[in-house]
Subunit: 298 residues, 2 copies
């Protein structure tokens, strides 16, 4: 009898179940810049992993605004999300993380460590410092002497971290360093690229990420300065476009799909087993070499 009713139109009432204390099956994903293709690919892989394990994903883009972020995470708590993955915006972390702590929502910080209490809110990110170190060694090995680092606001920990591997390797090799600080965008890459292409200040550049590198690449194309021999270029992330431009871009790959699925899995494991992950975890990166540092003859 009940099955007959069920067949046409019955829907399980989750809110009722939830009220009675059942698991909600809702998990949250908070992203600071969803328009950036890196985060688009990341969000897609996280969401697919959640869905595969039977959870629905509440998502929010904060555009880097901590006020918006506090509002949307508050709303997620009300809706009863069981756990949260957050790539947080800098500034006023208490407004966001305070309520999460009080509501005991298992929360993993991905990519950006904004709240220092990693014992409460474990941090997971690719090993960017190792990545820029490998990138710098690759450039030095190919003969580069004056390597620039382009993009990223100087004060930000994310920038400092990516800089650190680059600085360490240059220091070890006795070569000069220069950070062209600025916003993380194609257009900043393009502006800076125009300056570099018109000068002889540098013979190589590592960029904050592929977005900046793609802007730089366009500026060099525009100036008709070939990339790969006299000037070598490296990005970070390996977004889909990185391999689909001309010349193809050498980049530090964090394997976005795997990283997203891994982050989602760690969060769900915490939720389901109650075992909190280690305070800080770094996932491996690898240098993907393409024509932008290898030149025509590979």
């Amino acid at each position: 009898v009940r099955e007959a009713i069920g067949a046409l139109g019955y829907v399980y009432n989750r809110p009722a179940a939830q009220l009675r204390g059942a698991r909600t099956g809702l998990v949250g994903l908070v992203i600071n810049d969803l328009r950036n293709p890196f985060f688009g690919e990341f969000a897609a892989s996280v969401q697919m992993e959640f869905a595969a394990r039977g959870y629905a994903t509440v998502i929010a883009n904060t555009d880097g605004d901590p006020v918006v972020q506090a509002q949307v995470t508050g709303s997620m708590i009300e809706h009863g999300v069981s756990a949260l993955l957050i790539s947080a915006a800098y500034g006023d972390e208490e407004a966001t993380f305070g309520p999460l702590a009080r509501a005991s929502v298992p929360t993993i910080q991905v990519l950006r460590k904004v709240d220092p209490r990693t014992d409460l809110f474990p941090f997971l990110a690719p090993d960017y410092a190792a990545g820029t170190a490998a990138a710098t060694r690759h450039l030095i090995g190919r003969g580069a002497q004056r390597i620039a680092f382009v993009g990223g606001l100087a004060a930000r920990p994310v920038t400092q971290e990516r800089l650190s591997g680059y600085l360490a390797e240059l220091d070890a090799a006795g070569l000069p360093a220069r950070h062209w600080a600025g916003p993380v965008s194609r257009s900043f890459g393009r502006e800076t690229g125009a300056v570099l292409a018109a000068s002889d200040l540098h013979d190589a550049a590592i960029c904050y990420n592929d977005l900046v590198a793609l802007g730089l690449l366009v500026a060099f194309n525009e100036a008709e300065r070939p990339l790969g021999d006299r000037f070598r270029l490296i990005g970070i992330d390996d977004i889909e476009a990185a391999g689909q431009v001309w010349p193809p871009l050498t980049t530090v790959a964090c394997d976005i799909d795997d990283f997203g699925a891994d982050a989602a899995a760690r969060m769900l494991d915490w939720l389901e087993t109650g075992v909190r992950p280690a305070p800080e975890t770094r996932t491996p990166v690898r240098l993907v070499t393409r024509a932008s540092t290898l030149g025509r003859n590979g």
Copy 2:
């Protein structure tokens, strides 16, 4: 007294309210290809509009799979989403739209009309046919005689629609048409571009979207065939990358941010007023002309 309690740690219990019949404040967004930067930008603008009007967004990526789609929309219904915006996957629409109809969830189909019952599920999309018509006229006006249309699976309504404006204008001008059918991806654009760049079959191309056009652009760069004079290229969408490549890409802009905010607003208006939108609405598009059809001298 209550305020004091509220001050530290009280959270409004939405599930309880919901059980009692209150509005959930949850709305759904279903996307067939979130890894595509167009949908990334679209999802970001939709979600920001929802958040601005006080709604939380449940999002799901189906990767074009109707089975996944039926599963995730079912889950959204259980969670009590008040309304839904869907860029649907083709195939088995009943499995997705049947439950939505039975649960009376106000649902707008955006970008792809998969369920023909637009009286129940209104359809909203940019006027792509007008866009490709304008693109074709622009190319003819600049002297192109053998214009290709690249990308899109031939049987799909989305492809047919974009083709229609192109075919109509070529027909009116007495010029030949050719559709290079294929998947919507950078790599298909690149493969086809390699063929076109090595031949003299065409003197211009309109692509299914910017992703395909960007692939084609790379192939021409790779072959060292300049774009803009002897071969002109047009994309569709005006994703951020379109203006940030070399040469910059002429494209049919649907103003993604405005379109996303508009779609979100129409859905919320329906939800809040109870007035169902018109069965089919087309939003205006405009041709953004850049160097890929204008050449060096603009």
